[in-house]
Assembly symmetry: C2
Homo-oligomer: 208 residues x 2
Amino acid sequence: MNVPKPILRLIESFESLPGIGPKTAQRLTFYLLHFPQEQLQKFADSLADLKKNINLCDTCKNVTEFSICELCSDASRDHTTIAVVANPLDVFALEKTGYKGVYHVLHGVIDPLNNIGPEEIFVNDLKLRVKSMIDEGKNLEIIMATNSSMEGESTALYITKMLRDAGFNDQVLRISRIARGLPVGSDIEFADDITLSRAMEGRSNYTS
Amino acid sequence: MNVPKPILRLIESFESLPGIGPKTAQRLTFYLLHFPQEQLQKFADSLADLKKNINLCDTCKNVTEFSICELCSDASRDHTTIAVVANPLDVFALEKTGYKGVYHVLHGVIDPLNNIGPEEIFVNDLKLRVKSMIDEGKNLEIIMATNSSMEGESTALYITKMLRDAGFNDQVLRISRIARGLPVGSDIEFADDITLSRAMEGRSNYTS
């Protein structure tokens, strides 16, 4: 049986998205058949226009409608503390914690298995940014806020080595890594070995 | 933090789809930011054009690019056996079984909790179709191939009653229901009570 071409085309488009397999793509497409044309057109426009008014911030590479993002142009934030994150979504997550520094969005992590090297993400821009701030006489803290996965860890290591190799020492540049440990509310009994040993290594002084 | 409007708009559009919550909508949107504009435009076009070249078949109400679908215009099929299904996706599923009759697509099931009555789906069209065929002197079989859910069962019951009330008796119209029983490969031990009792009721003669 031949499925009508417009349906096939939309199924294929949905299948190109991550986490959407053939069955889900079919289900979504047939669901959309019941949408009024007006709403379909609105959806289509929001797809076509997605990147039209969006830039990457000149400073931190986060997505923004302006040339400098709202966070980077906010004078009340601490511009000498820079959290290095992989994706814009990580910025949203960290914003909820009340963090008041600024960000550097890499747009990916170093992942040799998927042919993503340091040139594919914004690591060099980070080096230039750090250099220009240190040249201005500022002392910085870089917080490595990449995922606690193998790729996230190796990206954090790579960037740390790159910055130290560029001659930025402890005096002008503190480099920290977000803590790995037990998630709040979880049981020691069920924690995996690596998480638990990281939690032991990262223990802090306890004051009551 | 203000998320750029084009991103918010697309997130909202994705959230209107079934089974896609806020987190998935965000993930899909930020994934699409890495698509080339050309591919985004293609996706947008396939959404906007989805319904432009699609009709419902005059006879069976299945989706098609023509006024009569390929299945209904195929003379090699048995046009006196009509499988009544809820959705076009069910047609795909039944086609894989090698079924050689035709279909009637209801585009939904009777579901009073969601305000879907018999007028919202194509049950009346089925009655007219059956009537005109019987008037031509044909004997028909209607196979109720709706889901084995409460809505599917009550829709099958409703249609059966409607056709019998319209005066089509056993002589001219056989009405059957697809079997409910153990799925192939499953264990009696783990089958639920209703499925197992349906499997017992629906037992057939066994020839080795």
